[in-house]
Amino acid sequence: MKFTYAVPAGLLAASILFTGCASNNNSNSNTSNNNSTNAAANSTTATNTSDTTAATTADFTSAVEQYRTYVIEQCDEFVKQTENFTNAVKEAKIEDAKALYAPARMYYERIEPIAEALGDLDPNIDARENDVDAAEWRGFHKLEKALWQDNTTKDMTEVADQLLKDAQLLRAKVETVEIDANLLVTGAVELLNEVSSSKVTGEEERYSHTDLYDFVANVEGAQKIYELLKPELAKKDAELEKTIGERFTALQAELAPFKSGDGYVSYEALKEEDVRKLSQNLDALAEPLSNMGTILGV
């Protein structure tokens, strides 16, 4: 929703070429780049000093293809798990439905930027109560409210059916979604921003308090993209690549104590300082991650 993903390849190549030239001019006139020891500025130094031809020759074909495969895998699983969940809702098995809810959502949360790029699919599947007009509200969070707040599945059959249809539609559409390096870079940051702006505050899962499932899935989705771009990033800015890797590890270490069985503890179990620490670790990761765009050249 927040970015364009279908930039024609020819146009993109042209713009890279053009900006590449500008960058050469920049670094010629820019003779005194000896600062920057911090992570953010480190990457920036490298951007200006490194060989801009790398940008124009960087080949993201394999990364893009692997990401498409990943998205399709996640989507397949998402449809399957959503069906189990919606079946439980329709059969009025409240406890089963509650148990299936958060794990199913994780497949979606890992690839959320893709869904957001596909028009109305994201709000249809994932809107929270006040995100859309009451009359249009549907999807996971409507069922969440029914299950956790109202403790019923009454009148939810239609919502459940519609959710499954929307999930299937997402699966069909991802076959053709155009993915490029820019989408990957932006998407990774987008995933962490999702965590920052709604998961960390506990607003996403306000009835079920399963926010940590979404949190972890968003981070995993971002990490997948980082892993795919890592070889290119290492060539362009090895220190940035290393820093991002370390920060992923640090964030996972912060998340680890909140694991519980196959899932995660309720967000309500977190203390104020736990939340603050998670948020700070997330920011510490997102900052260098937002510089991955360096592989796109200037």
Partner: protein
């Protein structure tokens, strides 16, 4: 804005010589040009003339601002480098944005890297140039957050220090902790909230523009991500220079002049006596540094506002209107604590704020406080307003603590205020060009 000198390539004058005509002409160009603008303009033959000797390369280098040393060629820029840190003796700017950080790393090498990165950033922040060198790449977040682009430096100063917790066992520096640096003892009436206390590192950002001061802390916090996090912040203000062109002693939110008894910051001998550490005071890395006490003080302004003028004046020991000691004429008249009225009663109450703070007059500290207003206290519907008290001294115990112990026990003012936050820091000596913040400690 010393940046102008850089852009013209004119020789720097450390004593703050007036800007000559040639560099004035570049004022027009400076900062208004993005890098892309420059690229577009490189074809223009007249540009070289406009710029004087420096030319395009010069102005680009200036914008990228990699710490060509700061030069006070303009009243609006205060040198970041020097034998002492700025923001201590510097006449107080209009605004403060104070920040305490906690380190999240456990590696000393990361701390050192952070200080080096902060040094580079501080050199830009205090000269009004953008931080970093990626401010025009469409694929990357700009390295400077941009809200002061085009603004002048506004006398921005950044003052760095480390708290007692910096010397715990995390970094192997416990043997380097000065004995003079320790958490403050508890004072009578303290009502401290941990959310406004302590910190491994402090950064005092002062500027004549609040957006400039905020921008400094925001960007330093951004650079610190992954190494340090903000622990608490407090913004503060004074009357501005515009509102008080004569620069008289500022009034606090109780309406009284605050800072009248301050020692003279232009008196070098007195500052060496009161503020600066010498090599005989403690570890050599603190030589040229000073200790900072920070107290967040909540004023019970609603209660204060219900007190009669004579009560208020007896509380301070001074007249509200002109700040003169009770019984005297002028603000700067000596406090005559022996003066008595016909019945033998002291003219200035011995438990008034001025009398107690003055004591026998032998112990001084340099105060540099700001008023604060942090919205409503929702529990009472009253304003959360007061003072961010800051003092600099050579010895916390002998100066700040000695005075505060007297005050906390019997100051009449205690009825109208409560201390809600507290921290102490060892402020490093000045940063040399090519060096970095805390180099003598961390190097």
């Amino acid at each position: 804005m010393n940046i102008h000198n850089k852009s013209t390539g004119l020789p720097a004058n450390a004593e703050g010589a007036p800007i000559n005509e040639e560099s004035k002409s570049s004022l027009v160009l400076d900062k208004k040009l993005s890098r892309r603008d420059m690229l577009r303009l490189t074809g223009a033959t007249s540009l070289g003339l406009l710029l004087g000797g420096g030319g395009v390369g010069g102005i680009m280098a200036a914008r990228n601002a990699v710490a060509e040393p700061t030069v006070a060629s303009d009243a609006d820029s205060i040198p970041f480098y020097g034998s002492h840190q700025a923001g201590i003796l510097t006449p107080a700017q209009n605004f403060i944005y104070f920040a305490a950080f906690d380190l999240t790393t456990t590696k000393l090498s990361d701390v050192k890297k952070l200080m080096q990165a902060w040094t580079t950033a501080a050199a830009s922040l205090t000269t009004g140039s953008l931080i970093g060198d990626v401010n025009d790449n469409p694929n990357l977040p700009p390295s400077d957050t941009g809200e002061v682009d085009g603004l002048n430096p506004s006398r921005c100063t950044l003052t760095f220090g480390v708290g007692p917790s910096f010397f715990d066992n995390r970094f192997g520096l416990s043997s380097k902790r000065p004995t003079l640096l320790a958490d403050l003892p508890a004072f009578t009436g303290d009502n401290l909230d941990p959310k406004w206390c302590g910190g491994d590192i402090c950064v005092q950002a002062c500027a004549d523009d609040l957006q400039v001061a905020f921008h400094a802390i925001r960007n330093l916090a951004r650079i610190a991500r992954g190494t340090a996090v903000l622990r608490w912040t407090q913004e503060g203000f004074q009357r501005t220079g515009t509102a008080d062109p004569k620069g008289t002693t500022p009034r606090n939110l109780m309406g009284f002049k605050d800072g009248t008894g301050n020692p003279d910051a232009t008196n070098e001998a007195e500052m060496n006596e009161v503020v600066w550490n010498s090599s005989s005071d403690g570890p050599s890395w603190m030589s040229g540094g000073t200790y900072m006490a920070v107290r967040r003080v909540r004023f019970r302004i609603e209660v204060w506002d219900r007190s009669s003028l004579s009560d208020q004046e007896a509380t301070f020991g001074r007249y509200r209107h002109n700040g003169a000691p009770i019984g005297a004429k002028d603000e700067f008249d000596d406090l005559n604590l022996k003066a008595a009225d016909a019945s033998g009663k002291p003219v200035i109450p011995p438990d008034s704020h001025s009398a107690l703070a003055h004591g026998d007059g032998t112990v001084k500290m340099l105060r540099r406080s700001y008023s604060i207003s942090s919205g409503l206290d929702i529990a009472t519907g009253q304003l959360d307003a007061g003072l961010l008290f800051i003092s600099f001294q050579r010895d916390l115990m002998k100066q700040f603590v000695a005075i505060q112990q007297r005050l906390s026990k019997s100051d009449r003012l205690n009825e109208y205020m409560t201390h809600t936050g507290s921290a102490v820091f060892a402020c490093f000596p000045g940063i040399r060009k090519g060096g970095y913040i805390g180099e003598a400690l961390l190097g």
